[in-house]
């Protein structure tokens, strides 16, 4: 019997198994340190050291009401964009799992082709669609309705940003959904659940990891948006990146610009830390049911 027992690997070999993956990630780690870690550190340092050492840039940030309004607005707009993306992407990603390979290819291309077009170009197309004399308003007017103000409003910015960010929501959702066994739904229904019940207790919880992954990516990318709010928005939809740009590029206040970046980063971390337990516990519930 003992001859058939698997031999336990010796200790040094086991250590090798632990370290080898790390060695393989070394190029990526070095790249991250060089292009993200170092510049980020510089930004933090400059926010504390310019024009002299101290917290003056942070005191300035929290002392100016406009900064706080815009910070709050940045999070609000990003949250709306995330919500719109979830609502639009969920059925779309589901459809991708439900159709045959040929239609799926078309659906994937519909997501990816706009993704390959530059964000600026897409934003400018939204200008053409949304402006007062644009396509949407002309259609509304020719149908006998009053035109609506879309461009230079928060609504316009949210629409434009959601379209630009939609692929980041659809792709993670699809990758999770395609792993869900659709027979589970049929099993639930065979046990007497109505289709809606089967969806909410079986399918939705299983797809939530995809929703969370997509939502986090979209939310974080939205926080840093610059071009789309600048072109589609008005004063009431200015986001923090625009203020950072003014501080750094036109006032040469690198310290203040840095402080704004750090505040945005820290606030994001805090929000994610708050959201993490919710995401994790939901995920565990799925296992229990």
């Amino acid at each position: 019997m003992s001859a058939l027992e698997p031999t336990t690997p010796s200790a040094p070999q086991r250590a090798g198994w632990v370290w080898r993956p790390f060695a393989l990630t070394l190029p990526a780690l070095l790249l991250l340190v060089a292009v993200i870690g170092y510049p980020l550190l510089t930004i933090v340092l400059r926010s504390l050291s310019e024009p002299q050492w101290g917290m003056q840039n942070y005191a300035w940030f929290f002392g100016a009401p406009v900064n706080l309004t815009v910070l709050q607005r940045t999070f609000t707009i990003s949250a709306w964009v995330t919500l719109v993306c979830v609502v639009c992407a969920y059925p779309y990603a589901y459809l991708m799992t439900a159709v045959g390979p040929r239609v799926r290819l078309v659906l994937v291309l519909c997501v990816l082709i706009p993704f390959w077009v530059s964000g600026v170009v897409r934003t400018l197309s939204w200008v053409i669609l949304l402006q007062d004399s644009g396509v949407i308003n002309s259609l509304l007017r020719s149908a006998g309705f009053d035109g609506i103000r879309l461009i230079r409003t928060q609504t316009g910015v949210v629409i434009g940003m959601a379209q630009v960010l939609l692929p980041f929501m659809i792709l993670p959702l699809y990758s999770v959904m395609k792993g869900i066994d659709l027979r589970l739904m049929r099993a639930a229904q065979s046990l007497g659940a109505r289709p809606s019940r089967a969806f909410f207790t079986v399918y939705l919880p299983l797809s939530l990891p995809g929703v969370y992954a997509g939502a986090i990516i979209v939310f974080i990318l939205a926080l840093g948006f610059y071009i789309t709010p600048a072109l589609l928005g008005g004063p009431r939809s200015t986001m923090l990146s625009t203020l950072v740009q003014t501080q750094v590029l036109s006032l040469l206040q690198w310290g203040r610009g840095g402080a704004m970046g750090v505040v945005l980063l820290v606030t994001t971390f805090v929000l994610l830390a708050l959201a993490a337990p919710v995401m994790r516990s939901r995920h565990r519930d799925v296992g229990r049911r």
């Binding site: 100016a64 072109l231 003014t246 590029l249 036109s250 006032l251």
Partner: protein
Amino acid sequence: MLKLRYGIGAVLALGVLTGAAFAQDKPVAGEVKEGSLKGKTLTFVSYGGIYQDGQAAALKDFVDKSGVKLLNDGPTEIAKLQAQVESGNVTWDVVDTDDLPPYVYCGKLFQKLDLTKLDVSKIPEGQVGECSVPAMNYGVVLMYNKEKYKDNPPKSWADFFDTQKFPGVRGIDGSGSPTGGLLEQAFKVAGGDPKAMTVADIDKAIDVVRKLGPDTIFWKTGAESQQLAESGEADMLMMWTGRAMTAVKNGAKYAPAWQDWLVVMDQMTIPVGVKDTDAAYALLNAYLGKNAQEVLAEKTSYTPINSDAQPKVDDSVAAFLTNTPDRQKQGYKQNFKFWVPNFAVAQEKWSALMAGN
């Protein structure tokens, strides 16, 4: 035939020699010594688009004659220039900037100019700064919708700020920095005297702009302002003359109210720490020449800054050139002495307005 060729050669050589001798003691705008910059490279930085293309065309003679290799870079960003100056590795040799930066950062980012190396005699009065010469002139002009206001058009900035007498949507330059001249006109509407403006008055001026209401459009780019005129989405627009000209050419039913049009210009500068200062001066001096300025005006429709320049432009362009005697009389020059030291404060307050506060 051979004799004749030698003759021409001799005359040319003589011309070059006298030119060279001249360049030694007194530079002449637009002239450069043949082959004087052979093997050298200069990087010229501006704002791209047809503007920088026009500038490159204006400098073609200089490049051909001097033998310099001219690189174009852009767009101009003062923050990038600051990073270059601070790291001691300045790769931008001549930089085209907005109105104010050469005054705000004179001596820090931009060299104080040695005027014995430049011929500034043909530049309009009052435009040569300690650290800059003008790159071109243009204006910020009030454009109004002819169909909306018909027989009772707005005539001044006071009318622009009067939404009672002149209802309608306003469009204002929201591309970044405040326009000093506009704030001065707004301050006048608030009952103040722009010549005696104080820092606290900036708020009063900005309040006048804010009172225009939530329908006011702050355009981000020149192209957007043009599009607003062509689509008729704004009834009164603060516009750059070049964009106003193009919009009218494209059929926008707008007309200018020239009273107190705001005089603005781009500046030509040499950054602190460039590798070959003399080569940069040679470029500047060539740029200021009559021919170069004519080419620039013909290609870009901006107003040349050499008073001898006679660009061949059609009527639609000529209508928006700002160097005619009439226009010079109507122009309004901002209070430079006030805005240079208060640039940061004004920018801060203007940014707050731009951010909806």
